[in-house]
């Protein structure tokens, strides 16, 4: 356990030093604040609370940005250290290889979590200051939590890529490919499929499964169908009535999406000949 802490701590220090933490925190905070105030302009004083609107816009921001940041943090983690020769020395120390993978993962996750909490928290804080009171903070906190979980998924996927390929360029390319696939292509393909199918083959159950197969969709369903106000606003009310996916199932799917690639990465590094 101690080794995990030592390795994670080094990763965080590295993140501070090479400005990853500052850059991602500022980026998320800037975008979150922009979305919070610009995003609520068109709604005026409609019934929905400003926070609900913010949750919808920040969820969309998370789906695009958090996986990208996570993959960029992670794709180099193993193959890059291998390339630079730092992994060789680290593994000659009394640490197990899985400890290296998990320790680094925890460090990267901490960086991402810090950026998300501070960045999005800034938006909530600003609303609090502007309106004096805010309803639905619990939903907002859940949104931040699930954003971090989505980050964990993509850090884990990035690690898996990083541990199985031998070339940094290839790892980077695959990471971008994964991002494109899960964030852009998958949904378009799914939408196309539903339009063509018109409910003949794809039942609600199949649709649920398809949504769980993409962590970004699992996150979307989790947040945008969460509470009544949010789902109405997100235009996801119809979907949430159809989908038989409880929050527990969605969180479970995201956890599985984290554990499996991470386990794969640990396994791949364990078998690697240095």
């Amino acid at each position: 356990m101690r080794n995990l802490g030592i390795i994670a701590g080094k990763e965080v220090r590295d993140g501070l030093r090479n400005r990853w933490i500052v850059a991602t925190t500022l980026l998320l905070a800037a975008l979150a604040l922009t979305l919070t105030f610009l995003g609520s302009v068109p709604t005026g004083t409609v019934g929905a609370s400003r926070l609900a609107v913010t949750i919808v816009s920040l969820s969309s921001l998370t789906i695009f940005l958090v996986p990208l940041i996570a993959l960029l943090l992670a794709y180099d983690a193993v193959v890059g250290e291998f390339d630079r020769g730092t992994l060789l020395l680290l593994l000659s120390y009394p640490v197990a290889r899985w400890q290296v993978v998990i320790g680094k993962f925890l460090g990267h996750l901490a960086i991402l979590a810090f950026a998300t909490v501070v960045g999005y928290g800034a938006a909530a804080g600003a609303l609090l200051v502007a309106d004096g009171h805010v309803e639905g903070l619990a939903t907002f906190a859940a949104m931040i939590g699930s954003s971090i979980l989505l980050g964990a998924v993509f850090v884990a996927i990035g690690y898996f890529i990083s541990a199985i390929v031998r070339d940094r360029g290839l790892a980077g390319g695959l990471a971008i490919g994964v991002w494109l696939l899960f964030v852009l292509i998958y949904d378009m393909a799914l939408l196309g499929l539903l339009v063509v199918d018109k409910g003949r083959v794809i039942s609600a159950g199949v649709l649920d499964a398809l949504l769980l197969l993409n962590p970004a969709d699992a996150f979307r369903v989790l947040n945008l169908t969460g509470s009544g106000g949010v789902s109405q606003f997100a235009g996801m009310a119809g979907l949430s009535e159809d989908a038989g996916l409880s929050p527990a199932v969605l969180v479970g799917a995201l956890l599985l999406w984290t554990v499996l690639p991470l386990g794969g990465a640990a396994l791949a590094l364990g078998r690697r000949q240095l």
Binding site: I6, R13, D14, G85, L89, L91, S92, Y93, P94, A96
Partner: protein, 306 residues
């Protein structure tokens, strides 16, 4: 003397290519052993296997009594120091931070770090980013991390490449000091002339095979390379080979008039005795075959057989 490292018929193949081929070796405590050979002779692979970084295709390895790939082997690495060939560190951390990180992993107090940095001459650079270090400084930091926690066993892969002569010297004095404390050290090198007086045992590796193993003296005897004498005689006598060396040593006259004698190692003392008796001897130079020459001769033999 118990064995610190035992290798029994160890082979490592990458595909069909054998990087290490049937190597059997035993290292006693407190010994300093040199692995000598070309690039690609299997030195680094051998060290990596002893560290459990890569596994042997066949054969048995025990380091400090443990299989390096087992959990026990992982614990045994608490007492092992390793300096890889062309050592690398994350560029964004400072030398001190880096060393402290490694100290924690080895369960050593971080207070051990500053004295170590002083020992390798990195005190002034300790707060600088490693990205700004020169190759020599990185190598010194590499040595510092290898020395963390007074290891019982050291693996140093090409330790002196990139060091200037002064640092090289201080490096070897650190090694000598460790040897006195009973630390076992495995060096790999192709800077053979440096190793001569500094190691107890030499293993010549060629294409993954341990060609010969022994002390420098026993290697000399095995190679049967001649010892060369250069005699400088007073004017008038120059260029004339005294008859007393007939049948004892082959002789020739060098361009500058010095007489060169070449004889087998076991006749060295006899030649020396007779040379001293010569009237008008100004100077005498004795050149034992260097490790470089020995190495070349073993490889030639090898190629002759193959």
């Amino acid at each position: 003397m118990t064995a610190v490292v035992t290798l029994d018929k160890v082979t490592k193949r990458y595909g069909k290519q054998a990087a290490v081929n049937d190597v059997t070796l035993e290292l006693g405590g407190g010994q300093c052993i040199a692995l000598v050979g070309h690039n690609g002779a299997g030195k680094t692979t051998l060290i990596k296997m002893m560290l459990g970084l890569t596994h042997a295709t066949s054969g048995r390895i025990r380091v400090l009594g443990e299989d390096p790939l087992s959990h026990g082997g992982q614990q045994a690495r608490l007492a092992i120091g390793y300096l890889p060939e062309s050592v690398a560190f994350p560029a964004s951390l400072t030398g001190r931070e880096m060393l402290r990180f490694y100290a924690r992993l080895k369960r050593r107090p971080v207070s051990e770090c500053d004295p170590l940095l002083a020992r390798v001459g990195l005190v002034e650079a300790a707060h600088k980013r490693i990205g700004a270090y020169s190759k020599g400084m990185r190598q010194r930091l590499g040595l510092a991390q290898a020395l963390l926690g007074s290891p019982r066993l050291l693996f140093l892969d090409e330790p002196t490449t990139g060091l200037d002569p002064f640092l090289r010297h201080s490096f070897y004095s650190i090694i000598a000091e460790l040897r006195e404390r009973g630390v076992t050290a495995v060096l790999s090198s192709h800077a053979l002339s440096e190793l001569e007086t500094r190691v107890d045992k030499i293993v010549v590796l060629h294409q993954g095979k341990a060609l010969v193993t022994g002390t420098l003296d026993s290697l000399r005897t095995m190679a049967r390379l001649p010892t060369i004498f250069r005699l400088r005689l007073r004017n008038g006598l120059a260029g004339k080979v005294p008859a007393i060396f007939e049948g004892l040593a082959a002789s020739s006259v060098a361009a500058d008039g010095a007489i060169e004698l070449s004889c087998a190692a076991d006749r060295k003392m006899e030649v020396l005795r007779r040379a001293q008796a010569i009237e008008g001897l100004d100077d005498i130079e004795i050149m034992s075959p260097s490790l470089d020459q020995l190495y070349a001769s073993f490889l030639q033999d090898k190629q002759g057989i193959a």
